[in-house]
Amino acid sequence: MSTIERNPGMPLNLDWVENTQVNTSAVERRAASYSGRRSVKKQHQAAWLLKALSCIDLTTLSGDDTVNRVRRLCNKAKNPVRKEILKALGVEKLNITTGAVCVYHEMLEAASGFLKGSGVELAAVSTGFPAGLTPFDMRVEEIRRSVAAGATEIDIVISRRLVFVQDWQKLYDEVKQYREACGEAHLKTILATGELATFRNVAKASMVCMMAGADFIKTSTGKESVNATLPVSLVMVRQIREYYERTGYKIGYKPAGGISKAKDSLMYLVLMKEELGRDWLEPELFRFGASSLLGDIERQLEHHVTGKYSASFRHAMG
């Protein structure tokens, strides 16, 4: 399993939080430069797309989810690409799967069964997802129950209101208790960046979550009007770098929502490699929260093999 030492968290250090500076325009300029500065072509592109695929948290978070729908998703996670394409790429031995399947609590039991022995992680959104406004003890209890039901990863939502009033202590305390409730399961903290309004807020909340013991910091629930973007990702991964430089612990990053094109996923990988390095190009430190991205990656992989543009009906739907 994991080769990285898990972040134990640390006491809240308000200096690290308060001294955070983010210049929005400069962040946007840098984020816009990746596509011009780095280009991944041909063999490399195929390999990189496979890597992106292996980092996907294949997600369904709908009110109309059923056991059968979740089974289809789990089977897709285990067999994300048609066998003959993998063969043509010479990568059958990778036994490639997506990073995880991500569902609501109610679907965990079923999913856990479908995924058994596959190596695909099982993530549950939790703590009153997506608003996080259920009673606090119930949020903590929800984590415990999900872990008991087989979730190996818990995606919690932070209390956005604590960011607006800058009550970092309370935010820290909440996330710390979530982490304790997780036990062995990994904790991903969703900031709902689209709602936090400023990059400065995002940066500060990122740091507080990492201090409180987050294993991953994640952008969005997918339910906000603005989800993952490259600029907000840059803000968050710079905080991950800062935390790593100061503590030596590597925190993972998960952009979620709005990433549906293979080409976009490459830019996220470039960002991770440039800002954090090779170690962050593995599912243990990087995930995409996405549902339709996989389909586009499959089409691009087939194009790489055949030289012909592909069509979605040629690939199993998830």
Partner: protein, 791 residues
Amino acid sequence: MSIMKIFETMDYGLAPENTDEAMNWLKEHDRKFGQFINGEFIKNKKASYFDTSNPANGEKLAKITQGTQKDVDMAVTAANIAQDSWSRLSGFQRAKYLYSIARLIQKHSRLFAVLESLDNGKPIRESRDVDIPLVIRHFYHHAGWAQLMEDKLDDYEAIGVAGQIIPWNFPLLMMAWKIAPAIAAGNCVVMKPAEYTSLTALLFAEICQQAGLPKGVVNIVTGDGKTGAMIVNHKDINKIAFTGSTAVGRLIREQTAGTGKKLTLELGGKSAFIVFDDADVDSAIEGLVDAIWFNQGQVCCAGSRLLVQESIADRFHEKLIARMSKLRIGNPLDKSIDIGAIVDESQKTQIAELVKVGVEEGAELFQPEITLPEGGCFYPPTLLTEVDTAHYVAQEEIFGPVLVSMTFRTPNEAVALANNTRYGLACSIWSENINLAMDMAPKVIAGVVWINCTNQFDAAAGFGGKKESGFGREGGIEGMYAYLKPKYERKLKSGKEQKPFVLKIKNSMATVDRTPKFYIGGKQARPDGGYSQAVVSSKGELLAHIGKGNRKDIRNAVEATTKAKGWTNTTAHNRAQVLYFIAENLALRAEEFSTHIQSLTGNNKKDAEKEVYASIERLFYYAAYADKLDGAVHTVPLRGVVLAMPEANGIMGIVCPDENPLLGFVSLMAASISMGNRVVMIPSQASALMALEFYQVLETSDVPAGVVNIITGDKNELAQVLADHYEVESIWYFGDQEGSTMVEKSSAASLKRTWVNNGKSRNWFDNKVAQGLEFLNQATDVKNIWTPYGE
């Protein structure tokens, strides 16, 4: 490499840009190019050629013609023939051609980008995403200026034929910066690209053909510095625009002195990159990447001097070093490359030598462990820390990917360090405190200031320097003025020298001796040399003895101006008040000055009174303007503002005309001090006494000490001292041709801005020629302050 393997390494691999089209283009021309003169490519059988090659691999690309005097003559003739009809076209007609050029470059943008990277060695990312888009933008924008000439610049007209000489670091972009405004304004051009990088200029010549540009409007003559000198010294050229080294710029200033050629120079720099402790440090470091590792650091405005606040310096350097290790250096045509090739082996050697000097002086060297590609001209990104102002590398332009770093403690120290250089091109300021950043921007001496950004350029914003970084602006309306002259200028006639009157009547001195002294630092001062000269009235009476100034008097006067900085920093409202007060006090003594004018000039009472009242009106005029030369907010494609702030030149020397002793003096003094300059005035010999009488008016008008200083004596002798003086930032000379030549020539050392009359006189009563925008523009320099915003 197998996909399995790449899946593990996650390397970028190669992403080479296809060069077939560019190679085909070279082949179509048999890899041999002639001169583009009068709309056609001309190959002379006797021509000699030099090679242009790809610095990334040494491969020879093509043969370029070495321009001869005959080539230059032909080009200048073609331009002169085209000049009249081109400048007479309507703005709309010229705009159509510029628009076509913009469109055509856009259509062939990738070919231009690839050719540029092949010839120059810059990463394809930069030529594709920066150079060529800006080139296109310049032609679009200036199509607009051509269109709006009649609307917005109706008092101005084309200068004539412009000789333009550009460097190799941004070959096509520098060409666009020069050609677009020149032809928009109605000038024709003779352009010489740099010898290392002529190819895109020649491709551009084809674009001119395709656009149907009238013959002779754009001529391109290739060659080395010798060809450049032929352009500079050509008698039928009216304007020289040069971008390049300070040394060559200085030579051009000397060679064009007194020829009447207008001149703009965009020269070297050692621009500061200031990081305060409240900056977004990660963003500032990316800023540095764009500042000093953009175009291999071969950028005149490169942020090559890092000034970082001491409290964050160690951490900043650590992060910077980590960032440098991520830079990728290699084949410029690879799309995943940050740093390409140095343009030529000689440049690389020079960079290496300067770095060696830095290390010998005690600098600590960091270069990341990057393997440099073999067979090309590459130099690694370099950081020199432990550098101090006294080190050679802290003062000299390296023109390569080499950053020197120093620390500062306070904002004031940051300003002092930033300005501790002979150059004054650009400055980056990084702070999240708007109060601090906006306070710093006016204090740094630079033509361009970037707040929380760096190396931002646009056709709508002016670019150019101060001090030894040259003068003149490119881009924006301030750039248009570089290719225009006031319409009245062609009507100015040569002035007549006014000989001093001869003393005829002995013992004519007034009963009480009058001892007008110099006026220095708000005090009357005796001449240092102890010599005086007689002032004789038109009737031959001895009016007084006035001091004969020498170089020490000038030195003292300039020193007084340096202490009067408060005048430049005070509010414009305050300056206006002082000017009004001068006018008021002059009005009180109108009769007395009228009498002086009569005795000095022999004019009748009516004319003398007219001159006094015109002087009072002129003071009112500039008092009015003191708070109305508003500058602009340039409309650039950026979320933010670009403030174009007119700033005082600072310390000025002003040599006054012979005509209209009071009015000439007052006109120049009022124009300059209204904008916040501090001045050393040299009155004409004929009117010297009048000027000295005038200090009594100044003394009663709350003019702070040192703002206006007056020295009398031999006009040209004193002008020479002012022109030579390194502290004097600008000089206006109204006198004879000989003096004009001398002033321009002597100003070459300090590269100060000059405005000379070349012996032409003007009617100081005529508001059209004796006041207005031309004076205000000459009294100020536009600083462009880029401030992106957004939270």
